[in-house]
Symmetry: C2
Subunit: 333 residues, 2 copies
């Protein structure tokens, strides 16, 4: 295992300490339970928006805490659901009196623990709404899920719901918006290599030098198909067609697109994949109105990429364009 770490059991805390030191103007990191909180939380009268999940997907979620996006993030151990006490602490820390939205990626542990935390908070008089993201078209049920996995659409939902909350929308409106983004969002990923969980010390799965896996999950869960390595064009076509056909996207639709790196794939390749996606969408009459190209929801050092498309109307585009100031996404400020 080749990683820039000290002890495997200290990776999450020491990386969080780096986030805290680098971004003290934006976030505060609290430990035991571990949460990343917006520096000015709670914002009085604003709906709080939180998310969380296993670590190893950085910048998600801690890198998206700040003005116009998340109010707090709950980082679990690597590829391990955070615990209800983290979610409870985050909810209380960001509660400005207008309720708190939990954005939950569809993994059994995450869903169960967020439900438990929501009940605890509601029992203490904090209004909580929860929306589960399940956008991965690759598989219907998965190693860690009933139903589809929650992946890239989560990033876009956090940005859009954060903007709405910032503009003063109420809890029901922000939750409805999150459901709308999820209903309009589809993703699919692929891997060239495995990742290695620090505590495990060895690759999560074996894959041949001439093989790739299409439809992989963000923890290395099995995908749709193991096959011989294909060209970027063929890979983009396989993923984009699965994504576009599923909603389905139609000619005339506009979209926010994300070509996301899994952590070990360099930007020169991600832009090459974006070029393929742009051509495919043009061919189908779908306009990519906004986009992200880079590492946003990763799987440690896995090589590979994913494509996310969210069908977007004027409302979603306006919220997308609203100012955001977080460690990993920043514009308009």
């Amino acid at each position: 295992m080749k990683k820039l770490i000290n002890k495997p059991e200290d990776v999450v805390k020491q990386s969080l300490a780096g986030v805290a030191a680098a971004h003290s103007d934006l976030v505060v990191v609290k430990y035991d339970p571990n949460i990343v909180v917006r520096a000015d939380a709670p914002v009085k009268g604003k709906v709080g928006v939180i998310s969380g999940g296993g670590s190893g997907h950085e910048p998600m979620h801690g890198g998206f805490v700040g003005m116009g996006m998340l109010d707090a993030a709950c980082p679990g151990d690597v590829f391990t659901s955070p615990t209800p006490d983290q979610m409870e602490a985050a909810t209380k820390a960001v509660n400005g009196g207008a309720g708190v939205l939990h954005i939950v990626k569809n993994y059994t542990g995450d869903v169960m623990n967020f439900e438990m935390a929501a009940e605890l908070c509601q029992a203490e008089g904090i209004e909580v709404a929860s929306v589960v993201i399940d956008d991965d078209v690759a598989v219907q049920d998965s190693l860690y899920t009933a139903g589809r996995r929650g992946v890239g659409t989560t990033v876009l939902a956090e940005k859009i719901c954060g903007a709405a909350a910032e503009s003063g929308a109420g809890l029901k409106a922000v939750a409805d918006l999150c459901r709308k983004v999820n209903a309009n969002g589809r993703s699919m990923g692929m891997a060239l290599t495995s990742c290695t969980v620090p505590a495990a010390g060895k690759p999560t799965f074996a894959i041949g030098d001439d093989e790739m896996e299409i439809g992989i999950g963000i923890h290395g869960e099995p995908g749709r198909q193991r096959m011989a390595l294909k060209s970027a064009h063929e890979i983009a076509v396989m993923m984009a067609e699965a994504v576009l056909a599923d909603l389905p996207f139609k000619s005339g639709d506009r979209a926010i697109a994300m070509v996301n790196g899994m952590g070990g794939t360099p930007l020169i390749e991600l832009y090459l994949v974006y070029n393929e996606l742009e051509q495919i969408c043009k061919g189908k009459g779908v306009t990519i109105a906004r986009r992200l190209v880079g590492n946003y929801i990763t799987s440690l050092e896995m090589a590979g990429c994913s494509i996310t498309m969210v069908k977007a109307d004027d409302e979603l585009l306006k919220l997308w364009d609203a100012p955001v100031h977080t460690p990993a996404l920043r514009w308009g400020v």
Copy 2:
């Protein structure tokens, strides 16, 4: 070779096409010769600032083209110097009548070709100043250089000089500023794995499963020492002490720091290294006043990182904070 590409010979152009499609509001890509140019170039009366070098280091340099940073970038083939006709075309495209600064990383081919381009442009009446960046403390001479290699300080110099040019500074002042940044900047890198140049199809160098290389160059050039894999703490100490001792940085100094990923190292590890750097600097009384943590000057998919420190006074910090709007760096707008 596992990459998201089509044909090796098409990687640079197809990746540039992705940059053009994704960032048409910021940049225009021209081909044969290949250059990435600010969309509103030339800006009348403003000093133009250009740079360039081999591809494979993305986002450098094309990702730094835009308001407040570079006016143009010249991307060569992967790990290959751009040609004088690229630099000449870029210089002409951004010449707003106030002269053009060439920021050149110290590699023999780059220096020679930028010199030739400067002569061609001067012969046509365009005033050109050139500054060579040579900040890598690892080795005195290298596989591709006489003297020290130019690495991470280049990113900071491009930001700072771009801000000065944007504010109306003249060519001599912007060039002097670039020399000041270089004089105050020091870097060192390390690798856990090799990268693979697409046209070569095999790793640039061999390295054992339990080995790392300290002082590596951004093309996989040999560093200071091959040794057994160490902890992130030990690695950060080795690199930071070499960097800090070289200037030297003294107690009371302020700095802009960059913990940079080589392309294949995930953010969770880079923030962990940043935490180590912060502790080391605090121990020596050096204040990190600003910082970047992420992938800014990469070596394709190499796993590893580098540390750059630029000693900064009020002038440099003010220029650092000035608005910038490029594909890879954006704030204040």
